[in-house]
Structure formats: structure tokens, C-alpha cells
Amino acid sequence: MDIIVAENIRKKFKLKNGQKVKNNGVVSDEVEALSGFNLKIRKGEFLVLVGPSGSGKSVFLDLVSGLSAPTGGVIYLDGKPVQAPSAKTGYVFQQYALFPWRTALSNVECGLEAKGVPKDERVRIARELLSLFGLSDFEDRFPYQLSGGMQQRVSIARALATKPEVLLMDEPFAALDAQTREILQNELIRIWEGTDTTVIFVTHSIDEAVFLADRVAVVTARPGRIKELIEIDLPRPRTGEIRSSTEFARNRHKVWLALKSEVSKAEQYTKLATGFAG
């Protein structure tokens, strides 16, 4: 069953006066971020989006979350068009993922607070989630007092608190060092495997994509659309050891091949744009 259906999505941004951009070689004052973007996401799956920088992955997540509306096409969530942010979706941003004036606990409570859940109940749920991420001792800390990895754990806990059907994650681990990143991937997959939440996860790391995903969706260079959907045939539950298996390497290679040509295309565009091409 598909929980999210994106049908023929287009998203354009009007540029400021005097700014120009090339869309498929045509000069325009509108950026075409997505065009002909079709994607069906199965209920409960872990879908990872990879694609060149500027290919519209973040724009797509914003559309799914209801933060912005498509220029054309419709995104269905549970059969209904997405129109505004709702409690059905949780969103983990890469930056500004927490309110700096709230403690870790109070940040996790946010979504519940907005829903009007009573204080006791809120605190109970938030404590449970923090302990799931091993952060029980840090509940009274403000974000700036936490390491980057802890901050991201808190923001994932925050997004999970309202038990969303869909969890959107935009490069949540991109700013972390390699070790912390692997630890968080392991934690995320352990916690997710115990839920029936659907996840859409954006990353630039092929390893991260293969380790986490049921399917990897490769997005083309701008204007973005789905180029290829790759099934990751690694067994679950997954643990860290799987990273060194030959199966992992085979899946990794599949994704790499699909991504390679798009990344070099995107590079060419930028070179043309900055005037390096002969």
C-alpha cells in the first residue's frame, strides 16, 4: 500500500528582479526545482533520496511536509492532498532543528504541546524517547550545551514524539563526524525497525543510503525527477557488521552507478554557469 503518492510534481521559484537562471538551456527568471517528479512510497518503508546538490530533494521534503505548495501536480498522503503541515508528518531539519531557548526535554515535548497534550503525559512520552536515545541525563540541557550528535538525537526524538506516520529527514547526520554518524545510523535503524513509521531520508552518502534504505531513489540534476529506484536487498534487522559484507558492496555499486552520471551532469551545469567550459 502506498502512503505517499507524488504525481507529476512541478515546483518553480520566482527569482528576484534581475536574477536569471538556465532551465535545460533556456534562460528564465524562474528556477525550476522539480519537474515531472513522480514517486510512490510504500507504507512503512525506509526510502532514501540521493541526488546531486541542488536537485530539489529538500524542496520535495518541504512539499511533503506541507511547508510549501507545488506549482503543479499533487502530493497525496493517505489518499488526501497535502495542504498544510500536519501531525501526520514529522520533520528533522539539518540546521535549526531545535528551539535554542528550550531544554532537550522541552524540545521533545514541542509537538505534543502544540497538540494540547497535558503536561504529565507530555513529559512521560518525552522522557521515554530521550532514554531510547540514551539522553536521559541530558534532559535539562539547552541545545548549545549538547554536542552535534546529541542535538540530532534530540531532534529525531522531537519528530517522533507525536508518532507521525511519515518522518522526513533532510541530511540529519551531514554535519557529524564519521564515527558519530555511524552510531546514529545504527540507533536510528534500531529504533525505526521497532515502529511502522514511513521514513523519507535525504543524504549525500551512498553508504548511509544503502545501510538505511529499503529503496534508494536517485534524483536527477535540476529540474529534479526520479531517475531510478533501487531495491536494497539486505536483510533486516540490520546491524553495523553488515557494512563490510559483499552484499553491501554490491548494493553500494548499484547506487553509485545510477548516481554517477547525474552528479557529473550537475557538475557540468555549474561549470557552464560559472564560465569554465571552453
Binding site: 511536509s65 511547508l67 503541515p85 500536519s86 501531525a87 508528518t89 514529522g90 520533520y91 531539519f93 540546521q95 535549526y96 532543528a97 531545535l98 528551539f99 535554542p100 531557548w101 528550550r102 531544554t103 514541542c110 509537538g111 504541546e113 502544540a114 497538540k115 539547552f142 541545545p143 548549545y144 550545551q145 542535538q151 522531537r158 507525536t162
Partner: protein, 270 residues
């Protein structure tokens, strides 16, 4: 810039504080010595510049015999009442204009024209409209508090990062909850600055208001009395009192501001 994550070292703090007090007393001490020297050498007639000793004794007799404390209390009461009215009004208008472009279009131009007139400029008009001395005093003081509060609240609300508004939206904050739980906390540093400036302005304008509007009690009234009886020592007592109490108010409101901001350090982006 290095920022320590934990609390500061307590023992360092205390010795630094003592050093700080000494440092802050250097200039007053130098000025006092200079004053004494000028008076002792007889450069300036005593009627223009009385000796520090004379000013001090005037201060003591004013406290014991001339109700100085009552004058101070009258001024403080006016300032606090005017400040609360003006700051609340300024906060409300600033918030309203910050949240709604329509409200800014409606109120903005009038507000900006009115604030070009120095607060003291309104005194004749207000005095003519309200006969009882206390009311125009308070109106003038609340006007002084109103403008900085409005401007800083407006700026704070306008400058709330788009990212925090998006985070609020995906968390489901709407309406009043959005304002109370996200917009006001995000704008808090600017609101605290506005509050501090407002109180400072209220205190300063109080003195002018008391010069122009007759009242029986008030520290400004006292200075005025000193001037008309050519009692320079009394004038100086008034000036020192205004300066010191104003400083006390500033320190208090700044400490309150820090307490409100404590920990929730909005300046530290993450």
C-alpha cells in the same frame, strides 16, 4: 570566540568582581579629588561650586529634615507607573505591527511621525489637556517608555528566523501558542533590550517632566527648588541622587533581563 559550556569558575568570579568594583570607583574618586582641589584653591566661587563636604551635609539634612526620601519615592512611583503603562503599550503595538503587515501599514506611519517629536515637546500640550499635575507627569513618562519598547519589540518579532517559524509549523504551533511559545521567546533578547531602554528613558524624562509640570514632591522638583533659591548644593544633591538611582534601576532591570534570558540563550544559534 570561545564559549564555555558549563558555569563559570566561582572563585575567579568573586576576585574579578572585587577588581571590577575598584575599577569602577577609579573615575569617581579622581573627579572627587579634582573637585576638592578646585574648591580649595578657590578657582570657583562657592556659590557656583560648593565643596564636596557642603554637598554631603546638604544631602544629610535633606534626608533628615527635608523629606528627600519622600521626593525620591514620589519620582520612583511616577516612573514605575509610567514605565509599566508605556512598556506594556509599546510591547503590544510592537508585537501587533511585527505580526501583521496590515497593522504596520495602519499604525506604522503615524507612529513614526509622532516619535520624531521629542517627548518633552509634548509637555505643553499634555499639561493643557489634563489639569491635575500627576496625570500629565505619568503620560509624559509613559510616552518615553513607549517608543523604545515598540521599536525593539517590532524589530525582535520581525527578525525571528524563518527556520524557527518552519520548525514551529512542522511542530503544529498555531495562533496564540505560536506567538507565546515561539515568536515571543525568539524575540526575547530584543524585547529585553527594549525594556532596559524604556526604563532608562522613563527615568530621564521624569526629571524634565518635573521641571515643567508643578508638583509638590519629586526629585526634579527638588532640583528646581534648589535652582530658584540659588542653592547649588541642593541642585548637586538632586543630580547625584537622580544619577545613582537611575543607575540602580538600570542594574536591576538588566539583572532581571539576564534572569529571563538565562540559559535560553537565543543568541547562540545552533
Amino acid at each position: 570566540m570561545f564559549q564555555s559550556r558549563g558555569g563559570k569558575d566561582k572563585s575567579m568570579n568573586i576576585s574579578n568582581q572585587i577588581k571590577g568594583w575598584f575599577a569602577s570607583l577609579t573615575i569617581p574618586f579622581v573627579l572627587l579629588v579634582l573637585w576638592q582641589v578646585i574648591v580649595s584653591l578657590g578657582y570657583v566661587p562657592a556659590i557656583i561650586l560648593p565643596s564636596p563636604e557642603k554637598v554631603f551635609s546638604t544631602f544629610m539634612t535633606n534626608i533628615t529634615q527635608n523629606d528627600l526620601l519622600r521626593h525620591v519615592a514620589a519620582s520612583l512611583e511616577r516612573v514605575i507607573l509610567g514605565f509599566i503603562i508605556g512598556a506594556l503599550g509599546g510591547f503590544s503595538l510592537g508585537l501587533l505591527m511585527g505580526l501583521s503587515r496590515t497593522a504596520e501599514k495602519i499604525f506604522g506611519p503615524t507612529f513614526h511621525v509622532i516619535r520624531q517629536v521629542p517627548v518633552i515637546g509634548w509637555i505643553p500640550l499634555i499639561v493643557m489637556m489634563f489639569q491635575i499635575a500627576e496625570i500629565p507627569q505619568i503620560i509624559v513618562i509613559s510616552l518615553a517608555a513607549f517608543f523604545p519598547m515598540t521599536l525593539n519589540t517590532l524589530a525582535g518579532v520581525r527578525n525571528v528566523r524563518k527556520e524557527y517559524l518552519e520548525l514551529a509549523a512542522v511542530n503544529g504551533f498555531k495562533g496564540l501558542k505560536l506567538i507565546r511559545r515561539v515568536i515571543v521567546p525568539a524575540a526575547l533578547p530584543s524585547i529585553v533590550t527594549g525594556t532596559t531602554l524604556s526604563l532608562g528613558m522613563s527615568w530621564a524624562v521624569m526629571m524634565a517632566a518635573e521641571f515643567f509640570i508643578d508638583t509638590s514632591y519629586g526629585i526634579g522638583t527638588r532640583i528646581q527648588a534648589g535652582r530658584s533659591s540659588f542653592n547649588m548644593a541642593l541642585v548637586l544633591v538632586g543630580i547625584f541622587t537622580v544619577g545613582l538611582i537611575g543607575y540602580g534601576l538600570t542594574i536591576t532591570i538588566e539583572a532581571l533581563g539576564r534572569a529571563v534570558n538565562n540559559g535560553r540563550d537565543v543568541h547562540k544559534e545552533i
